[in-house]
Amino acid sequence: MKYLLRHLQVFFHTLGDICRHPVPTLLTVMVLGITLSLPMGLYLLTHNLELVSSEWQGKPQATVYLKKSASDQDVARLDNWFSTQRSWIENVRFVKADEALQEFKFLSGLGQALDVLGENPLPNMFILDMPETLPVADYQDELTQLEQDESVEQLKYDLEWVQRLQAILNLAQRTVWMVAGLLGIGALLIISNTMRLSIANKKDEITIINRIGATNTFIRRPFLYTGFIQGLLGALLAWGLIQAGLNWLNEPVQRLADLYASDYKLVGLPMLWVLAILLTGGLLGWLASWVTVSRHLAKLYPSK
């Protein structure tokens, strides 16, 4: 109980100290906040990229527009042929001209304007999904064959760029992970250096208190609290920065998502993560102070 009381005393005394001289703490906290926010922000970026690319079924697709003249038998014949091509076709969807028009009206927002055309300008079509891992070259011949079929008006496919994008996303993700990792290490170094500097200013004070008969535990305690509080505030600031960044980006992202008819939303940090980050910030501050003060204290004791 008495022990707890003493800890509380030091804790509030430390808080008081910080309030009395806020500038150095503010600077330290800002350095910590910004350094911590970089790896955290980058992590969020990859996390969001991952979500985008998985939500948006990054599968290669081909659209087979049929001739107006194509009969139901032609459709059945093609459908049959598709079912023999399972090695490169994952999924087949037949879209009737009417459905296609409805969908187009809805997505384009042109709506009734299209009614004046009288006749439906869209043909029947097949939509084919191809496996994303299969190289286009493996089914290039089949596509050519399909394109030349008598009932096919046009074959449209965007295959390479989907795969390229996929590859680019993978690369981007790895790069970001790497940079986030480096920035994380950088944050650690900056935190310990910041603590080292703030303790360097107090060397005389530490020496004097040591000469008066303070134990190492006693001398360390306020520094540990300061380190903890500064680390905590730094992590809090980092979180605030990231949240502000997310808010700032949210509107344009929403607009972009709307344009792609996606209900994609930017994800922020989950609460558990926030807690973990705050705690980590505090512990890092604590640890960095412990190491620096202890190293200085070791010098204060005599050797033979």
Partner: protein, 225 residues
């Protein structure tokens, strides 16, 4: 109270600061330590507070054998010794009160005792009423008194001073020396390192004279005035 037997101190630089010192200071005694610059006065005081360890010999202070005192016990050993420095060594960003209270806080004194004892110490050195001031706002003599108040606030049985009057004019020096004399009257063992030979004469106390790390036979200045 303080006993040295054949004490040697060699610094890591290879310099022998103390060469075979032996002396004894009994309880409630007041002793002056003099000698030329570099004679080893500060070194001797540092051995007593375990800021430095002796290389060889036996040192006994207040009943404990310093040669075998483990590091973790050093803080507690230091609490029994008040030290006054030439340059005060005060914390300039804390008030006079906080500076004087520091040894009590360090020793874990209960909070309600603090105020009373700090005031008592400040009263003895004649600084009552300056508790809220910061050290740099005080004169040199006053700062030295704060240092003395801090050294005696937890009533240590031993009081050491390393040239406590080195930066003061003769009149102030006398006042400071009188303070030490007063504490000695109140059963504190006092050891003062000083250059100020003229001042010593007033008190008629034993003088240890160091010369190049060795003691010249102890002698006594007799009251002249």
């Amino acid at each position: 109270m303080i006993e040295f037997k054949h004490v040697f101190k060699r610094y890591p630089t290879g310099l022998d600061a103390l060469k075979g010192l032996s002396f004894e200071i009994s309880k409630d005694e007041m002793v002056f330590l003099t000698g030329h610059s570099g004679a080893g006065k500060s070194t001797l005081l540092k051995l007593i507070t375990l800021v430095e360890r002796a290389t060889r010999g036996v040192i006994t202070v207040n009943g404990s054998d310093l040669m075998s005192l483990p590091r973790r016990k050093i803080p507690f050993h230091r609490r029994d010794i008040g030290v006054v420095y030439q340059d005060h060594k005060l914390l300039n960003d804390r008030t006079v009160f906080d500076n004087v209270a520091l040894p009590l806080i360090v020793a874990g004194e209960p909070h309600r005792e603090l105020s009373r004892r700090v005031r008592a110490a400040l009263d003895k050195v004649g600084l009552l009423g300056k508790e809220k001031m910061y050290p740099l706002a005080l004169s040199g003599g006053e700062q030295q008194r704060v240092g003395i108040a801090r050294a005696v606030v937890n009533r240590p049985p031993i009081l050491l001073a390393d040239e406590p009057t080195g930066n003061l004019d003769p009149e102030l020096s006398e006042e400071i020396m009188d303070l030490f004399y007063m504490f000695n009257q109140h059963n504190v063992t006092v050891l003062i390192a000083t250059h100020d030979l003229q001042l010593l004469g007033r008190y008629g106390k034993r003088v240890l004279q160091l010369y190049e790390g060795q003691l010249i036979d102890g002698f006594k200045y007799h009251q002249t005035a």
